[in-house]
């Protein structure tokens, strides 16, 4: 096989650069073979044996298109340059090879699964790249910021090093803020037997606390019986799933689901996040032996759709002007919530302008799959590697793009800034708060 021509700016990443020095041929061989032999599913072999190297998947990948169709970014190249040689050479690859494999799998693929839809055989390239990440994780070759996030999960059971007191304190502060709009707003903590446990991702209490105030108002107006955990288990996010640290992934998911069991709720409603849904609905339960979450889980899009459709929340004044949307891969491509997302957008916006391509076929934001969590060193490549997203959003002429996913939100913000799109980036709940009717008896 001809080696791929790779042109990249040099990026320094302390964990990768130091990690590569500690690799030995024996260690690499042992870990690669152990993962391939004992941790992969049969489908890996099916994929490897089925792929005819036709390259049809390339046109699906935002990295490839945005980088002027540079073949080194094509999905099949990412496999050809990582897991194929590992298997072919039975783990006898060198440290520099592992370094390149880490860079490809963590920083040049958002495991968005768009390419799988363009492959005539439906080959899931993202799965293979996740196995590459697993190998890299076991070789301590995870980009610094992503690894630090996983350390936070492992130490605190949340993504952002939020300490136990900060969590409760933030909820109480946001409860007070919410009472400024609706005096009886509450964030009920540890209310056993409530209908709903609401869970969020670590960045909400850390950077976006107002979202917690918003949900408290929304829950009050919609008259929902809900609770939030006061203790660890409140965070539904899971970067360990993306770093390849499946043991920490499972521990985090177990705690989250056992918290719902402990509180004896009927369902979990989770905030606007895509990867967290994937971790809590699919990857976490599967590792633990659950078919699906033991207490059913729904994403915020499904929850808001239900509240709006049943009239539990009424709209007082729709948002004016053109507003568009980003489809988070993990809940739209992989869960099929595209139509519900459009239902709520239309319910709240006067002029919802759809993107093209849309729904399952929408382009990834390029921030997901842990890519944005690789941090500042890798930001330039990530943002420039999604020029087509910028062009797509620009075509809508919208003043605001709604992103019902935290990673999409940050990723799209970077795209809006870099490509000077002059758009606001908002969560759906921020629009809902602006547009919804607050009944007179609840008002301050």
């Amino acid at each position: 096989m001809k080696p791929t021509v790779v042109k990249r700016d040099l990026v320094e990443d302390y964990a990768i650069d130091e990690g590569v020095k500690k690799l030995t041929p024996e260690r690499i061989e042992k870990v690669v073979n152990d993962v391939i032999d004992n941790e992969t599913a049969g489908r890996l072999w099916t994929y490897l044996n089925t792929c005819i190297h036709c390259g049809l998947c390339a046109e699906a990948c935002q990295w490839y298109i945005s980088n002027d169709r540079d073949v080194s970014y094509a999905p099949v190249t990412k496999v050809k340059d990582t897991i194929w040689p590992m298997i072919e050479k039975k783990g006898k690859v060198d440290a520099e090879f592992i370094k390149r494999a880490a860079v490809i799998s963590f920083t040049e693929c958002s495991v968005c699964r768009r390419c799988g839809m363009y492959c005539p055989f439906g080959i899931d390239i993202a799965y293979m790249l996740l196995m590459v990440r697993r190998i890299c994780a076991r070789l301590d070759m995870v980009p610094l910021y992503l690894q630090d996030t996983v350390h936070s999960h492992a130490a605190t059971m949340n993504q952002m090093w939020v300490k136990p007191d900060e969590w409760i304190d933030t909820l109480q502060w946001q409860e007070e803020e919410a009472q400024g709009y609706v005096p009886t707003s509450r964030i009920p903590l540890e209310k056993e037997g409530a209908e709903i446990m609401y869970s969020v991702i670590g960045p909400e209490p850390k950077f976006l606390a107002q979202l917690l105030g918003n949900i408290s108002v929304i829950m009050k107006v919609a008259d929902q019986d809900w609770t939030m955990p006061a203790y660890a288990g409140w965070d539904n996010s899971n970067m360990a799933m993306y770093s390849g640290d499946f043991e920490v992934m499972a521990r985090v998911e177990r705690l989250h689901h056992e918290t719902a069991q402990r509180l004896k709720v009927k369902k979990i409603v989770m905030g606007e996040c895509g990867h967290a849904f994937r971790g809590a609905e699919y990857d976490g339960p599967t590792w633990l032996g659950w078919m699906s979450p033991p207490i059913p889980l729904i994403h915020a899009i499904e929850f808001y759709e239900e509240l709006l459709r049943t009239g539990r929340i009424k709209i007082a004044k729709k948002i004016e002007g053109p507003v568009t949307v980003q489809d988070p891969c993990n809940v739209v491509r992989n869960r099929g919530l595209g139509d519900k997302l459009r239902y709520i957008m239309n319910a709240v916006c006067e002029d919802f302008v759809d993107v093209s391509p849309n729904k399952r076929f929408n382009y990834c934001c390029n921030a997901g799959g842990g890519v944005i969590n690789c941090g500042p060193p890798w930001k330039k490549k990530r943002v420039e590697g999604n020029r087509i997203k910028a062009e797509q959003l620009k075509r809508t002429g919208a003043h605001t793009v709604v992103t019902p996913c935290h990673n999409c939100h940050s990723g799209i913000e970077d795209i809006v800034d870099t490509f000077k799109l002059g758009m606001h980036v908002k969560f759906f709940s921020e629009l809902l708060i602006e547009a919804m009717d607050i009944p007179a008896n609840l008002k301050a």
Binding site: A154, D165, P188, A230, E247
Partner: protein
């Protein structure tokens, strides 16, 4: 332990409080809690902006607080709540705040007799454990406390605590170990990468925890000494009820889960998962939740799985008071089932709470939910009328009577029913 024989087991029915009017009396009324003896019902109430109190049987405390949360009864029937005034927090019991206030206080736990309240506190950015207003003395400035456990008498408290400060994205310090176990203020000698699932023996002599040294290197530490084996993953250890030197935990090897005692595999069948093992009273049996294959959940007793399996999940098992029958609550197709020794008992429910057993172990009493109403069931049969809210049943010491605490149409009742009649 609280001497429950001293409670009133003679009055058959008492309407303790009518809460119907409470919402008109206050700006907001939070969910109620009731005392173990059933004599009191309490809710946090909002009296005005930044003015909160607790309403107990219709009476509020004299002085309001700026904020209150976590209203819970102690086992001896006092109302505890975390309270704030002038931006400081403390524990308030029956309206009386502790003398000392803190930056923050959370996670209260009670000794079995209810006399001691233990909680986590933060003061000047240092974390600690407080018992009845006295914070433990610890030579290390603790950066965080992730969880703690204690003996039933609350004389020994063991916490997983961060002992070394950690800068942003400082992976090198992290790998050197920044966490330890602190027992009554005394940290273990070493620091560790990650610690989970701390447990303490009933006599307080021994503390165990999971240690994760690296991505697939896990083991169990007992008083700081690791088991000789490493595993790719572990779950939390538990102590034998009678022997403080017998520690058991689920461990993962080669993609399967086993149960190990003191580092030796004792359940060797190998499962997709093993969760929440529990000993019976004398430690002669162990029951655990297991997945025999993907999405087939059941309970195994001494490594023998029940033949029935459930598609969704099984909650932590328990044994009856004689330690013979294993019981668990299981979920399948969106419904909950009570299961004893592998047999489904009674109809499916919308929710089921853990049972209490008669002294001879023959009868179990538990709260269930059906169509939005709550009942007490006995061995699968509904044995009470419908309640809007209901708490777990409590048996008198000799098992002759059952105390039922529940709300019907806003009225809170305390009822005593002969267990033979249920």
């Amino acid at each position: 332990m609280v001497n429950i024989q001293k409670w009133d087991w003679n009055t058959k029915e008492k309407m303790v409080a009518d809460t119907t009017g409470w919402p008109n009396q206050f700006e907001d009324v939070q969910e109620p809690y009731v005392s173990p003896d059933g004599e009191k019902i309490a809710s946090i109430v909002k009296q005005g902006e930044g003015e909160y109190s607790v309403c107990v049987n219709g009476e509020t405390w004299e002085e309001p607080f700026e904020k209150l949360w976590s209203c819970r009864f102690t086992p001896d029937g006092r109302v505890s709540v975390m309270s704030s005034r002038d931006m400081e927090w403390t524990m308030t019991v029956d309206g009386e705040p502790w003398e000392t206030a803190y930056e923050y206080i959370w996670d209260p736990k009670f000794s079995a007799d209810g006399k001691l309240i233990v909680a986590t506190v933060k003061q000047d950015d240092i974390f600690g454990i407080v018992t009845n207003g006295t914070t433990w003395e610890c030579p290390t400035e603790l950066q965080s406390i992730s969880s703690f456990v204690m003996t039933p008498d609350a004389q020994t408290v063991a916490a997983i605590a961060q002992t070394v400060p950690l800068g942003q994205a400082d992976v090198d310090t992290y790998y050197k170990g920044t966490w330890s176990i602190v027992v009554n203020g005394k940290p273990w000698e070493n620091n560790y990468v990650n610690l989970y699932g701390v447990a303490v023996s009933d006599d307080g002599s021994t503390v165990a925890a999971e240690h994760r040294a690296a991505i697939t290197d896990h083991t169990i530490l007992v008083n700081g000494v690791p088991w000789s084996e490493m595993y790719s993953c572990t779950w939390e250890p538990m102590f034998h009820p009678k022997k403080n030197d017998e520690v058991t935990a689920p461990v993962r090897q080669g993609g399967k889960w086993y149960l190990a005692t003191n580092g030796r595999i004792v359940w060797d069948r190998g499962y997709v998962n093993i969760l929440n093992p529990r000993y019976n009273v004398d430690g002669t049996k162990i029951a655990a939740v297991v997945a025999t294959s993907f999405a087939k959940w059941t309970v195994a007793v001494d490594d023998k799985p029940w033949s029935c399996t459930f598609g969704e999940c099984v909650l932590p098992p328990c044994f009856d008071s004689q330690g013979v029958t294993a019981v668990a609550i299981a979920r399948d197709s969106g419904k909950w089932f009570m299961v004893a020794d592998g047999k489904v008992i009674g109809d499916p429910c919308d929710n089921i709470w853990p049972p209490v057993f008669s002294p001879d172990g023959d009868k179990m009493f538990y709260k269930i939910e059906k169509n939005g109403k709550f009942y007490i069931a006995v061995n699968g049969k509904i044995a009470t009328g419908a309640y809007d809210m209901l708490w777990d049943p409590i048996l008198s010491t000799n098992g002759a009577d059952v105390l039922i605490r529940g709300i019907e149409d806003g009225k809170y009742y305390r009822r005593v029913v002969a267990s033979a009649a249920m």
